[in-house]
């Protein structure tokens, strides 16, 4: 934190310009380092799906409007379609494939199954990545908070009631004080 205007990082280093053609890039995804060659214009979403064969993250709109591509970068949920892969060097990327431990589904994944929180399933990886982060953020306190802070994940099949029920379950199983409010709402 802080706001620092000084050029304290002396001695000045020369700025390295990379691209526009392929550049060697190391991406850390779900704890594993992957060395790939990528043009700087390649989105994190395309890198994950087309280069690393991690096709869990979905492309709905490619414009930041649907949430199907939601992943975590350094633990925060973001949109992979509006993130350039090369900007993720040195950061930790987590995708839906990284949620399971030793083949065990994450509690949120199990809750989605129990509550029928999907129909076609296209939005589901993004919903789940958002839902787990939502609880971590402390934004799942009330139904109103859940609705507001999950609004970045659209579901064309309108599985919203099931999605909210799944989130409530996981929240209540974890948190001793249900009903605590988050930072919005």
């Amino acid at each position: 934190m802080g706001i620092d205007l000084s050029a304290e990082a002396a001695p000045r280093r020369r700025t390295t310009v990379r691209g526009p053609s392929d550049e060697p890039v190391v991406l850390t995804v779900n704890g594993t380092e992957h060395a790939v060659n990528l043009e700087p214009r390649v989105s994190l979403l395309d890198a994950l799906r087309d280069r690393l064969a991690l096709t869990g993250s979905k492309k709905g709109c490619d414009q930041g409007t649907c949430g199907a591509c939601t992943v975590w970068v350094d633990g925060r949920r973001v949109l992979a379609c509006l993130t350039l892969a090369i900007t993720c060097e040195g950061r930790q990327v987590t995708t839906i494939e990284g949620l399971t431990t030793d083949g065990e589904l994450h509690p949120m994944q199990r809750a989605f199954i129990e509550h029928d929180a999907f129909q076609c399933g296209y939005c589901t990886p993004g919903q789940i990545m958002s839902a787990v982060a939502l609880i971590e953020e402390g934004n799942a306190g009330t139904d109103q908070d859940i609705a507001e802070f999950m609004s970045g994940n659209l579901c064309r099949c309108a599985a919203y009631p099931g999605i909210r029920a799944a989130i409530r379950d996981v929240r209540d199983a974890r948190a001793p004080e249900p009903g605590a409010t988050g930072d919005g709402g």
Binding site: G2, I3, T15, R18, G19, G64, L79, L82, T87, E148
Partner: protein, 330 residues
């Protein structure tokens, strides 16, 4: 998407120098505007200069109770910073009602101020649009203009400025701090946004390579009870049709001081100075609020599909001022 080069910089000086030296380059912060517009073919930088490593992410106290918000502080972090939520709840609320949590985690405060309009003709990359291609005309004038502005328009562009937080920042006289090839500047937010006039392609006074480093919020006791209301086609994750940031200080039933700014209706974040002038010294009543709204909206220029915004804005202002007089909360 067109090919582009990439550089990551680590100091303000390096950022300014790198962009200044490359005519076709642009800063990259959260990328939620820039990457979107590059993919649409509307922004065409040859080089993106990634400023995300710059140490400009803090929220700090200024003497007297003001705040300094770093240009790379993320919308989600600023919204929940206790100093912001406590001293400028209208700013916090405006941030939380914008975009989605994923976007707010990515989007920076500096980038937010520089986001481009959501006019569909601007974004389609094809229609005549003076903002995208000066001199080609404005497709919205006689086109689908339901979302467009009614204040501050010109015959050359009627696009609404889309930022929510800029509306709240305008209400509290924020100052944009920059560092550029010509040195450092402090630009009052009202001067940061330019009316379209006959140069709608120019939206702010930033020189090429000039970096926003921070946003100053001057001390304003009145802001402690400020509110932000947003009206839109769906409850969440949507741009405003009309939004209101309001704060009132009332003594013995009389308005001592008023702050009012509007979103969704202006070609820039709209500080409602006519309304504020009407309110100051007037009784804190619904009649005064309606008169203030009328004074502000007297200059509205409507088009075929957006005339409803006048009445919507009038009601939103009255509701916003009523809530603000009660001490806010929302």
């Amino acid at each position: 998407m067109r090919p582009l080069a990439y550089a990551r910089v680590s100091t303000v000086e390096e950022a300014v120098e790198t962009v200044t030296a490359a005519p076709g380059s642009a800063f990259l912060a959260g990328g939620t505007t820039e990457v979107d517009l590059i993919r649409l073919g509307i922004a065409r930088p040859g080089l993106l200069v990634d400023i995300n490593d710059l140490p400009l992410t803090g929220v700090e106290d200024l003497p007297g109770g003001g705040l300094l918000i770093g240009a790379l502080a993320r919308m989600s972090d600023v919204a929940r910073a206790p100093e912001v939520a406590g001293r400028y709840p209208g700013v916090s609320r405006a941030l939380l009602l914008g975009a989605s949590q994923q976007l707010r985690n990515m989007a920076s405060m500096g980038g937010n101020l520089c986001q481009r309009v959501r006019c569909a003709y601007f974004r389609d990359g094809l229609s005549p649009c003076n903002k995208r291609e000066p001199g080609t005309g404005c497709s919205a004038l006689d086109g689908l203009n339901r979302g467009h502005a009614i204040l501050g328009t010109s015959e050359h562009c009627i696009a609404t400025h889309p930022s929510d937080v800029a509306v709240a920042l305008a209400a509290f006289d924020a100052v944009v701090r920059t560092s550029g090839p010509g040195g450092a500047r402090r630009i009052p937010i009202d001067d940061f946004y330019l009316l379209p006039g006959d140069t709608p392609e120019r939206e702010n006074p930033l020189a090429h390579g000039e970096l926003i480093t921070a946003i100053e919020l001057p001390p304003a006791g009145i802001a402690r009870r400020s509110i932000y209301l947003k009206f839109r086609d769906r409850e969440s994750y949507e741009f405003a049709l009309v939004s209101v940031c309001a704060a009132l200080s009332v003594r013995d039933g009389i308005v001592a001081e008023a702050r009012l700014a509007l979103g969704g209706v202006g070609t820039k974040p709209w500080r409602a100075r006519h309304a504020e002038a009407r309110l100051t010294g007037a009784p804190a009543t619904a009649e005064s609020y309606a008169a203030a709204a009328a004074a502000e909206l007297a200059g509205a220029a409507v088009r075929r599909h957006n005339a409803f915004k006048v009445e919507l804005a009038r009601r939103a202002i009255v509701r916003g001022l009523t809530l603000a007089a009660r001490g806010g909360a929302r």
